[in-house]
């Protein structure tokens, strides 16, 4: 699979797919999309990069071990549920706040952070599986 064309295109393809996965993640709150599908797109981006350029560049690019990313995602999701504790509402209640970033009002919510956590869990665990399989193939 390591043809010149594929290797040249793969980095661009990967960056585009990751950008798109973040778009899908953020879009998911009111429209089709969300953390799970976003995470899958991002994981396939890393898988493509791994097929084109080998597994170790992917691991270097990720810097953190995929399982650690997955664990961080689980932590983010769990904490966004626990935040309800401070507001005297039941576990996992959606809490909203508005912040202004450079004059643009942005809605922030625990739901968003939960979804980001899901995104990272899916990204981490699927990438971890994919890289392990690709390593076996090339090694």
């Amino acid at each position: 699979m390591r043809t010149l064309i594929f290797r040249t295109v793969a980095p661009y393809l990967t960056s585009l797919m990751i950008l798109f996965s973040i778009f899908v993640l953020l879009r998911g709150h009111n429209e089709p999309g969300g953390g799970f599908i976003g995470g899958l797109i991002a994981a396939s981006a890393f898988a493509i990069y791994g097929i084109a350029c080998g597994v170790s560049p992917v691991r270097r690019a990720l810097y953190f071990h995929p399982m650690a990313i997955s664990g961080f995602g689980l932590l983010v999701s769990a904490i966004s549920g626990w935040l309800s504790l401070a507001f005297k509402v039941p576990f996992m209640t959606g809490l909203w706040t508005k912040v202004s970033v450079l004059g643009v009002p942005v809605d922030l919510s625990t739901v968003l952070f939960f979804d980001i956590g899901v995104y990272l869990v899916v990204l981490g665990s699927i990438t971890s599986v994919a890289l392990a399989l690709e390593e076996r193939e090339h090694g």
């Binding site: 961080f72 689980l74 769990a78 509402v89 039941p90 576990f91």
Partner: protein, 518 residues
């Protein structure tokens, strides 16, 4: 800003949540938090045991606080995301769920302690402790959830974690055992999911309190008997009831001994719990119809299980069959369905969680000292390690149901209940199982510990006492002996749990406070 004027009190809870209610979520939320942290520090294996034990002790504290609250004020409810039940997913803790969650967390903490010795750096890097935490999140969620689909989700959570724990080490034997375990458990899970889909199609709700209050009206028209049978089969597989228990002897002797201890102690009891919850609380009339079948299944499970134990020569395989026969004894109470019978079953579940875990840990210590699990090779341990012999005696008496340890009182209750119900043959089966258990474990004791070994005392008898093994067994022996000589508090809890199952009005009233007033 029109949204702010909408009255949300018809759809959402409006009173603030008391801090004490968080004890309901903590037994699930804390293990997930700690499991996530452990995943992140996967390569810092030295930190794992400390983090996991701290997390489990916090969970244990939350469980104890929850049980005390439930015993004092009745079932507690927290519905996720403020939606009113049955639309939000409710966590509902009654005496049954809270007490089993407490016992399970206790043995998990002890297993985490023993794992400091049993699981080396490689096992930790493969993720023993994260899997352990996520397994306990799944088990805690199963015991505390009040929603039957959510119960399925928690079953999946602990099932997937248990796959990870089973293959830790990746030897051929483990993969072989794990494949059988995985496939047969997935069949059970699929049945569970099918039954739940059918139930949702029938009732239009998944909240267990909602199902319990609607079941009477559905009885004439709905296929409740079909549902009850499907759940009996699905959870019977999970609980390892005869004749769908062949996955357990095929897999429980393959993992690391501390994993086997946790599985043998806790996992089958989750199946028994689910049977109790669904058949006794949701489908009581159907359970009464099925009681004859359940009684035969119970008798078959306990007698054939323990006969399997007598035939084995590997200690871990013996224990696997003893676990199965214990499940049979618990099913006897389910078949009877009376208050005393269910009290006996629940008390037996407490006993079995503690004693089976301790017995598996004992097997680990025997392996550590004698160098083998095989009864053909072991011997002479009594002379070299009298303390280990003492632990073994107490634990084996406990499992055989002899005083002064924990197995006696649940069996007394179950025998009495089956005599009162006019089923002397069931009490005979329970007593016969007790006798055969004594023979099976007595055989282990004589061959592994009492007799002189084939080569006398083991050559490496000079190795020091196994500190972690003794500490873990001593920790478990405290409640085991307490249950034997001062059973009243335990029986009171089990009785409260049984009463709460038989009369679901407290459970329903906690989820739907408006109904309780009427």
């Amino acid at each position: 800003m029109a949204a702010e004027s909408i009255d949300i009190s018809n759809a959402m809870l409006t009173e603030p949540t008391a801090l004490g209610d968080w004890m309901l979520v903590a037994p699930v939320g804390l293990p997930i938090l700690f499991g996530a942290v452990l995943l992140m520090v996967r390569h810092e294996t030295r930190l794992h045991a400390g983090i996991a034990i701290a997390g489990l002790l916090l969970t244990l504290g939350a469980n104890a606080a929850l049980l005390l609250q439930v015993l004092a004020d009745g079932p507690k409810v927290m519905t996720m995301g403020r939606w009113l039940p049955p639309f939000g997913i409710s966590f509902t803790a009654d005496a049954l769920g809270a007490s089993l969650a407490l016992v399970a967390t206790l043995v998990a903490s002890v297993c985490a302690l023993y794992a400091m010795k049993d699981i080396g750096a490689t096992g930790r890097r493969y993720g023993f402790y994260p899997f352990l935490m996520l397994l306990m999140a799944g088990v805690g969620g199963s015991f505390l959830t009040g929603d039957i689909f959510n119960l399925y989700v928690w079953f999946e959570v602990f099932l997937i974690s248990s796959f990870g724990l089973l293959i830790l080490g990746s030897t051929d034997r483990q993969l072989d055992g794990a494949t059988k375990y995985a496939i047969l458990n997935l069949v059970g899970t699929t049945l569970f999911l099918t039954a739940t889909a059918y139930l949702y199609g029938t009732f239009g709700t998944l909240n267990m309190a909602d199902i319990a209050r609607k079941a009477d009206a559905m009885r004439e028209t709905g296929p409740l008997m079909t549902l009850a049978v499907l759940y009996l089969l699905a959870f019977g597989m999970k609980a390892a009831a005869f004749p769908v228990n062949f996955w357990l002897p095929a897999s429980y002797h393959t993992p690391r001994i501390v994993t086997a201890a946790l599985f043998g102690g806790v996992l089958t009891k989750v199946g028994v719990y689910a049977l109790l919850r669904v058949l006794v609380m949701l489908f009581p009339v159907e359970r009464a119809e099925l009681s004859g079948v359940i009684a035969w299944v119970a008798a078959g499970t306990m007698v054939l299980g323990i006969m399997g134990a007598i035939a084995q020569s590997d200690i871990r395989r013996v224990l696997g069959f003893v676990v199965i026969s214990g499940v049979g004894v618990m099913l006897a109470g389910l078949a009877l369905g009376t208050e005393i019978g269910l009290t006996g079953t629940i008390l037996y579940a407490f006993h079995s969680v503690l004693a089976m875990t301790a017995l598996y840990l004992l097997a680990g210590v025997i392996k550590e000292l004698g160098g083998s699990y095989s009864l053909h090779e072991l011997g002479g341990l009594y002379r070299a390690y009298p303390a280990m012999g003492a632990f073994a005696l107490v634990l084996m008496l406990a499992v055989a149901g002899l005083p002064p340890a924990s197995g006696l009182w649940p069996k007394v209750l179950l025998v009495r209940a089956s005599l009162e119900a006019g089923w002397p043959w069931l009490s005979f089966a329970i007593l016969l199982t007790g006798l055969l258990t004594t023979i099976a474990l007595g055989r282990v004791y004589i061959l592994a510990i009492w007799r002189n070994g084939p080569s006398g005392v083991p050559a490496d008898a000079a190795t020091g006492a196994p500190g972690y093994g003794y500490a873990s067994m001593a920790l478990l022996c405290v409640p085991i002996i307490l249950l034997g000589i001062y059973p009243e508090p335990f029986i009171r809890v089990a009785e409260a749990a049984a009463v709460g199952l038989l009369d679901a009005s407290g459970y329903i009233g906690a989820v739907f406070p408006a109904e309780a007033v009427q």
